[in-house]
Subunit: 623 residues, 2 copies
């Protein structure tokens, strides 16, 4: 086997077939009634007793012999001797003879000799509780639910394959069944490898390149979503013996082992060795992007699938190829809500003739017809945030190299619980905005910066864009309101360097941290430096060149301040609010407006209206 | 308070408002990442670190200073001194100076001094690993993912109210968060009362009218379906002090207490006393059928709702009024799949001007348009089987006294997991049929007997009807096949009474158990007795009168045999197969055909075709 060669890439169909052939079924287990909800029966259950188990009075009244009432009516009641009473939960202590009746409660056992009952409303007591007058005639069986009338012993109750819902639990309870045989959930072992991975909650040494293990927990949650039982194995380093032992243990204990690509070649080597020694390689390399190096086979007696390493890729490949097989094995079909249809929000081109998994987000178009717009999320597969920004995956066949805006597409949601956001905003990162968003139900906001935000708004995808600083006005948008924010230089607590303004960055030997050119803060900084250049009668770029750190800009609004805290810089571009919150010093430079601009077609969308209301409540809105 | 009076019935809307006002929220709890799936965040989570936490090489290649490559190309490569290597998970031990490069792996930390990297494909090693030739020029930042490029410290990560799905778990993992604050599930205490109730799994004394407790388990499963945590309290008898203690304990420990109507008045008395002493009565009596005696209020510090006693009624009232409030408190909205629309399969009349909850079943009409037919399930609210036969509930307003066949209706499914059957059949109960059904995916079969089965098929609701015995031929149906079954008298093992045939039932003093007139077996028995009467030159009814037990017929096919086992009868009408299976004796009387007849409009429906295939495989089909 040569793992570097992918000359004969398998088709996505062949990959699905290979995974389907792995037989992930986990056998049978018995669970109590309390734990049965959602599980899948593996055997037909027949009733072993009658329900009700006795002839049962369905009303409060009198049990009697029907023939004793024949001919009775209001004018000429039948007069019966009262010989006892029976309540629910009591065994009758009397046998009825001709001309006798027994007082009986709803749900009580009909006494021997009685074959019908009369409701109390059609009777009168007489002779001091010794007799009852029956003012109607009844037929045998009237007002009696006979034993087995609901379910009779021997009847088919629930079929094999039934997914147990509350109503089925009702039937099982009625039959006295407190334990049922169900499909065991497929056990899916998740093995994460790589020296650089650290479990969430543990300390991270970023300086040696450690990162938190994202895939293990994401895939584990996906496994449980699909009806499987996820087993997380202890993190294996790059030491081969240790890794082999963990893999073999997982293969021994689970129906399926998933690993996600490690950056270390040794992990792949170990997997190959185990497959070679005691397994079977079904398929290596699939013509799908991402997912090309997918490996499908057997490790000892367990199935094995190797997933890509990048979180978004791993999630998409898992969701598209592996989750359906787990569902099949669990006997729990995919809910219809796991798939939605929509229209592509903007055109999309593809470079190569490969089957493609495209992560997409959803936004409702808000004109009340509930149509869903689908937009590609294109941060790059290394970005974990794409996971949170995307709602699902669209498969695009290899013959497609171009999708028109408006093209209908089918989205497989990452989970049936995923719901599209009520509001989709993009633009500047801002603490006031973040507080406003807190008051909304389920907003999605991507802090892409002011300029990209406005560009996306112009393309018609988001509901709103938030822009800070000098505003381009050539955009067709509805201004929902805004606020002013004070910006300047965030410095060490107490401003020990005695920085007084931008001029110090130019004239003194200070390390500065900038924001990216996408940010509105950077635009205002640029304008302020241009003013300073004019004041000094020099060129803007001369001043910029004199600032140590001007060129390398950070994407997020708190990042420069955090560089100051870390001692990596003397001053960072930022907001007074950020400096205050992080207990840093602040040198004010100016104020800039922040505006919230809505897509004109979406102003009636509920999420947009809620945002408008929240803006009015939360900030001194300027219109 | 007079609990017998319902003069001022509240409207269903008022009942919903009263339940909404109860505030069932369960507070906040912290759960680990592994347990976070499906839970609802109660606080905004901001990133507390950069992802990645370091400047990260995105490819295998060489880290270098971009300006050292300016001008380099294939013809004129830049020659850089190789001063070390960095792998993923390692801290770089070198600082780059002008003209130097470091070999670097994907995911590794960029060394100090480097501001870009070149993929290995664009380089050549030179001078025995001491130098590298770079055949392209790169800009600062090329092939580097900067610290915080994915998520930056201080950025908003997830908003309060987010229902956590696998993708969110991915983001939380990336941020190193291993525990999150979520809404506690509303705790719902379920109190069952009544001396006659027995927990499933325990022994039942039917002779004293004991029945299994259906509502507790059904409602508990419904509570968990709705995102609550169900707490089953020990079964309380009718003793008032014990019941009061259980109620107060439940009220103390839970956010909501549900009880379902007991047949005993003392339970209601206790609830009233607790509400009077330390609670608040919001509402008693609702203008809805079923559900009229619904009671809504507070028990100590907990909310309280009293549900009807009959299982179907309790389930419908819970589903319609209580489940939405639990979902609201849990922060878990109802999935769209919990509601379906369809057309009423047959007309329905209502007697009284009250809001009505109608239990209904679903059947797809099978012509490929996926339209759902909705049919009322009308076994009577005391029947637990209605729970298994019904898929959900339709609300019908008080102004409606008539619904046309074909009228569009909205069905609230008993649970979002409920799926309509693949096949809906009605008719004769038969063991061969039951085996055939075992091979189908998700059939629903109601053993209503041959005659009612044919009537329903004629009304156009079920897909198929199964009829046994002399067949009415005036029905427009497609015969899918059938088989013969041997019927006769099921007697004690070894036939100790030496019963030889029907004549013995007439001529000797034997106790017989019959089937209902709906069953095909009863029809064949009637025909056989008519033949015997002709043979003897007498009237049929004279022979029938001479049979002890002829008139009282049991509904299910095994019930007469079980009466024989129980010693309650000497002979029962039944099948040879039943006798063999239960190790009883059998006296053959005749053979009768069983036919499976399909609705002519449904023959192309997948479930019907599967049934046809299964019939061919399972029985020697006669066409």
């Amino acid at each position: 086997m040569n793992r570097k060669e992918f000359r004969d890439l398998a088709s996505p169909t062949a990959a699905r077939e290979a995974i389907d052939s792995l037989a992930l079924e986990g056998g049978i287990e018995r669970v109590s009634l309390e734990e049965a909800r959602g599980r899948v029966l593996v055997a037909r259950l027949d009733a072993e007793l009658d329900v009700p188990g006795f002839d049962r009075a369905t009303l409060d009244g009198y049990a009697l012999r029907a023939r004793d009432t024949f001919g009775a009516d209001e004018a000429d009641p039948a007069r019966l001797e009262l010989v006892g009473e029976v309540h629910a939960g009591e065994e009758p202590d009397v046998t009825l003879k001709e001309g006798q009746a027994v007082e009986i409660s709803t749900g009580a056992v009909m006494p021997d000799g009685a074959d019908a009952m009369v409701p109390v409303e059609r009777t009168d007591a007489s002779s001091g509780d010794k007799e009852v007058l029956v003012r109607t005639s009844v037929a045998p069986g009237d007002n009696v639910m006979f034993a087995g009338a609901d379910v009779a012993a021997g009847e088919r109750a629930l079929g094999s394959g039934t997914q147990i819902t509350p109503r089925d639990i009702g039937l099982l309870s009625a039959l006295g069944i407190d334990e049922v045989p169900v499909r065991a959930k497929p056990r899916v072992g998740i093995v994460s490898t790589g020296d650089e991975l650290v479990r969430p909650g543990d300390d991270l040494e970023s300086e040696r390149g450690e990162i938190y293990d994202v895939n293990s927990y994401t895939i584990a949650a996906g496994v449980e979503d699909a009806g499987g039982e996820a087993v997380l194995y202890p993190h294996a380093g790059d030491e081969q013996d240790e890794m082999e032992e963990i893999l073999r243990t997982a293969a021994d204990e689970c129906d399926l082992v998933l690993s996600s690509g490690s950056t270390s070649a040794s992990a792949v080597d170990v997997i190959y060795r185990v497959i070679e020694e005691q397994g079977e390689l079904l398929l290596h390399g699939v013509s799908v992007k991402p997912g090309k190096p997918m490996l499908i086979g057997r490790l000892d007696d367990s199935a094995y699938v190797g997933l890509p390493g990048y979180p978004v890729s791993a999630m998409m490949v898992f969701r598209t190829f592996v989750a359906p097989a787990i569902r099949e094995a669990a006997g729990v079909p995919e809910p219809a809500s796991a798939t939605v249809t929509g229209r592509l929000a903007r055109q999309e081109r593809y470079e190569e003739g490969r089957h493609r998994l495209m992560p997409v987000g959803l936004v409702t178009d808000g004109d009340g017809d509930g149509e869903m717009l689908v937009y590609p999320v294109d941060k790059g597969s290394g970005a974990t945030t794409s996971l949170a920004d995307a709602d699902g995956v669209v498969e695009v066949g290899p013959e497609t190299d171009y999708l028109e805006a408006g093209e209908p597409v089918t989205v497989t949601l990452f989970s049936p619980d995923v719901r599209p956001p009520t509001l989709f905003g993009v633009g500047e990162d801002d603490p006031t905005l973040s507080r406003v968003l807190d008051g909304l139900e389920r907003p999605r906001y991507l802090s892409v910066g002011s300029r990209p935000g406005l560009r996306r708004l112009r393309e018609g995808v988001p509901d709103v864009a938030v822009a800070a600083g000098p505003l381009e006005r050539d955009i067709d948008a509805v201004d929902l309101g805004g606020w002013e924010r004070e910006w300047g230089l965030v410095v060490r607590p107490g401003n020990p360097d005695e920085i007084e303004g931008l001029a110090d960055l130019i004239d003194r030997d200070l390390r500065f941290v900038n924001r990216t050119t996408d940010s509105g803060l950077r635009s205002s900084l640029g304008a302020a430096i241009a003013d300073l250049a004019e004041e000094r009668g020099t060129e803007r770029h001369d001043l910029v060149d004199a600032i140590d750190g001007f060129d390398l800009g950070l994407r997020a609004h708190e990042s420069p301040a955090r560089k100051v805290i870390a001692g990596d810089a003397d001053a960072g571009l930022g907001l007074r609010e950020t400096a205050d919150r992080l207990d840093l010093g602040f040198v004010p430079v100016g104020e800039q407006p922040v505006r919230v601009l809505a897509n004109p077609d979406r102003t009636e969308k509920e999420g947009v209206r809620e945002l408008e209301d929240a803006l009015e409540g939360a900030v001194p809105v300027q219109r």
